[in-house]
């Protein structure tokens, strides 16, 4: 339905071109009808916005090409000044070059909250920011807008805390300072940003860690205590029971240390979430190492691992250790939760899309995962079947770690599964050229 709606709006746009005199009225009426037909919800609004955007594009065509109707010089898209490209209009001004040279993220705005220039560090953080457009495209923080108004109105600077949640969670202290001069071509406000994510995260993580560790360790700890008491009392002289209990105790203790390891590993990944990886990793090479290291546990359950990769090296932008961790976690799951004597396949390929991505699909032919669980698997401590996966040594942290690593790498994870047939975990990472 939605696509139909948009096509409709586009067609209306086409009519504008053919019959400029009546088209305006037609579109206006149609817009109302469309709105009236639609029940509530953003789709209508988006469709209108999209329709409007399409209209703008078509309008431009008309003006430049055919010249029928008055030239459309007005700007319709919000916050974007068409006359200013993605690059700064003040590119060659001394102040611009000064800002550019600063290591901290710096944004210069005018009295109307329009970004006049932003240096490299700032552009890296705010990917949706446009030079020449409103700063709200970068951050809609109400405090930031208020601080800018305050700085302009009272010539006073202020520090506000920004909490950006996307694409990675990040906290920044923004110092918003007015510039005394009132020249049109100098910025009215300079915003200097300081990334405090790490400091904040450390505090948060300490709290999280204590909460999770104490909660998750309570159960195995209670079990250990119970066995110790039994061994000290009732089973003191029962050699067979002692043997059995010690075995269970040992595996509970192992589980506890695995939980701690995984929690630490997750904490480390989270800590670096806002720092993009800079290394270059050959996935083929990493894969063969990972598969080799997992052969023994696969052999133990008579499972075969088959790898199918392009012959040439496949590079992605990333941190080698973390890519290893991703592949180990998913492959280990495929072996562990696949079936005894199963077949695990790993297929590496390149996507056809413009921005090429490397796709790694890891499939097993195990029992599969019920639909209800699929969207939850990457939550920390989430296990499909608590009992059986606990027996298999699971802590429920593996895929949570995978998710965090991929977020840092701008990667995606897709999980597809069919009960009784198997599961496929597909990772996509930004591809980089080999030289």
């Amino acid at each position: 339905m939605a696509t139909g709606l948009m096509d409709g709006l586009r067609n209306l746009g086409r009519q504008v071109r053919l019959h400029p005199t009546i088209a305006g009225a037609v579109v206006a009426i149609a817009a109302f009808i469309v709105l009236a037909l639609l029940i509530s919800g953003l789709p209508a609004a988006i469709a209108c916005a999209v329709g409007a955007a399409a209209g703008v594009a078509l309008g431009k065509l008309t003006d430049s090409g055919l010249g029928d109707g008055p030239p459309d010089t007005t700007r319709r898209s919000p916050g974007i000044r068409r006359d200013v490209g993605p690059r700064s209009a003040y590119e060659d001004a001394p102040w611009t070059r000064m800002i550019e040279a600063m290591p901290d993220p710096v944004i210069a705005v005018d009295r109307d909250h329009m970004v006049m220039h932003a240096n490299h560090a700032a552009r890296d953080i705010f990917v949706s920011m446009r030079i020449g457009a409103a700063i709200s495209l970068a951050s809609r923080s109400p405090e930031l807008a208020e601080a800018i108004d305050h700085a302009i109105g009272y010539q006073e600077s202020r520090i506000v805390r920004l909490h950006e949640r996307m694409p990675v969670e990040r906290r920044l202290d923004a110092t918003v300072s007015p510039l005394p001069s009132d020249h049109g071509h100098l910025p009215a406000i300079v915003i200097v940003l300081h990334d405090v994510s790490e400091r904040e995260r450390l505090a948060q993580m300490r709290a999280d860690f204590i909460a999770h560790a104490s909660h998750e360790l309570r159960t195995p700890m209670a079990a250990l205590r119970g066995f110790i008491e039994t061994l000290q009392g009732a089973a003191k002289h029962d050699a067979a029971a002692r043997e059995r209990f010690l075995g269970i105790m040992s595996s509970e203790a192992q589980r506890m240390s695995r939980i701690l390891d995984d929690l630490l590993s997750l904490a480390r990944v989270e800590m670096r979430a806002h720092i993009a990886p800079t290394g270059r990793v050959d996935v083929n090479e990493v894969l063969s190492e990972v598969v080799e290291s997992l052969e023994p546990i696969a052999a133990a359950v008579e499972t075969t691992i088959q790898v199918d990769t392009p012959r040439e090296p496949c590079f992605v932008r990333g941190d080698r250790d973390e890519i290893v961790q991703v592949l180990v976690n998913i492959l280990q799951n495929a072996i562990k939760y696949g079936r005894q004597g199963g077949a695990v396949t790993v297929r590496v390929s390149l996507t056809e899309a413009q921005e090429r991505r490397l796709r790694i699909a890891i499939a097993d032919n195990g029992p599969g995962i019920a639909e209800a669980h699929l969207p939850r698997l990457t939550e920390r401590f989430y296990r499909v079947d608590d009992k059986s996966s606990r027996e298999k040594g699971g802590t429920g942290l593996g895929l949570a770690i995978v998710k965090h690593i991929l977020a840092r790498h701008q990667g995606d994870l897709k999980i597809a599964s069919k009960l009784g047939v198997g599961s496929t975990f597909t990772v996509e990472l930004p591809f980089v050229n080999g030289e």
Partner: protein
């Protein structure tokens, strides 16, 4: 009211600025509402609840400006569409603000609870998705990026699936241990509110072929 005659251009830009400001307020409210729920922080919850007032005010301002623009300028074609869709988005944002406020109210109710934190992980995941799609919708709207808007539309199926799963999980907790019932009931209502936030960007028809029993989940970061 206004003595200076503003240019039409400037009014359109003003409308957008107001909408963007309103969006920022809603994003903040949603973030604070969930943080209050997760940290059992009654002060933050009260703050979040109070901030809904500012959102309502902003919606009224947008409505007034938009209606006066339509009346005075009698805009045609794209401009009319833009103004009317701004009204729509503002209406949706107001609803989302209300839903987020309800989450904050649940946070107030469960503040004294000491049940394990793990019960809330599903809601955290839901909030992450809702936050992401709200941000994407607003970004797409503000930049008139139709491709991004479509992507948001599709990704909302995930929030539905997540809600169903969280619902079942919370029911299981309630059956396992009656002491969980009070808390889980509040969390269920909280989850319902978050799910409805996603409804304000209802997905396209499921485009998977019928009869294919493969279930899919997608975690995207780009």
């Amino acid at each position: 009211m206004e003595h200076t005659v503003k240019s039409y251009e400037a009014e359109l830009a003003q409308l957008d600025n107001k909408l963007s400001h309103m969006g920022g307020l809603v994003e903040q409210l949603l973030g604070n509402a969930f943080a209050a729920l997760e940290r059992r922080d009654p002060r933050l919850a009260s703050e979040a609840i109070a901030s809904d007032r500012a959102i309502d005010l902003m919606q009224r301002e947008i409505e007034e400006l938009a209606i006066s623009m339509i009346a005075r300028r009698q805009p045609m074609a794209q401009d009319l569409r833009t103004i009317v869709s701004t009204l729509k988005v503002a209406g949706d944002l107001e609803r989302i603000g209300d839903l987020a406020k309800n989450v904050a109210k649940r946070a107030l109710a469960i503040a004294p609870e000491t049940r394990p934190q793990s019960l809330i992980l599903g809601l955290r995941h839901m909030t992450e998705l809702a936050t992401a799609s709200l941000k994407n919708v607003l970004d797409a709207y503000m930049t008139r990026d139709d491709e991004k808007a479509l992507k948001v539309w599709r990704s909302d199926t995930d929030l539905d699936a997540l809600y169903n799963s969280v619902f079942r999980e919370l029911l299981t907790y309630m059956m396992e241990d009656p002491r969980n019932i009070g808390l889980c009931t509040h969390l269920l209502f909280g989850a319902k509110n978050i799910e409805r936030i996603g409804d304000h960007g209802k997905p396209l028809e499921d485009d998977r072929p019928k009869g294919d029993k493969t279930s899919v989940t997608l975690i995207e970061n780009n």
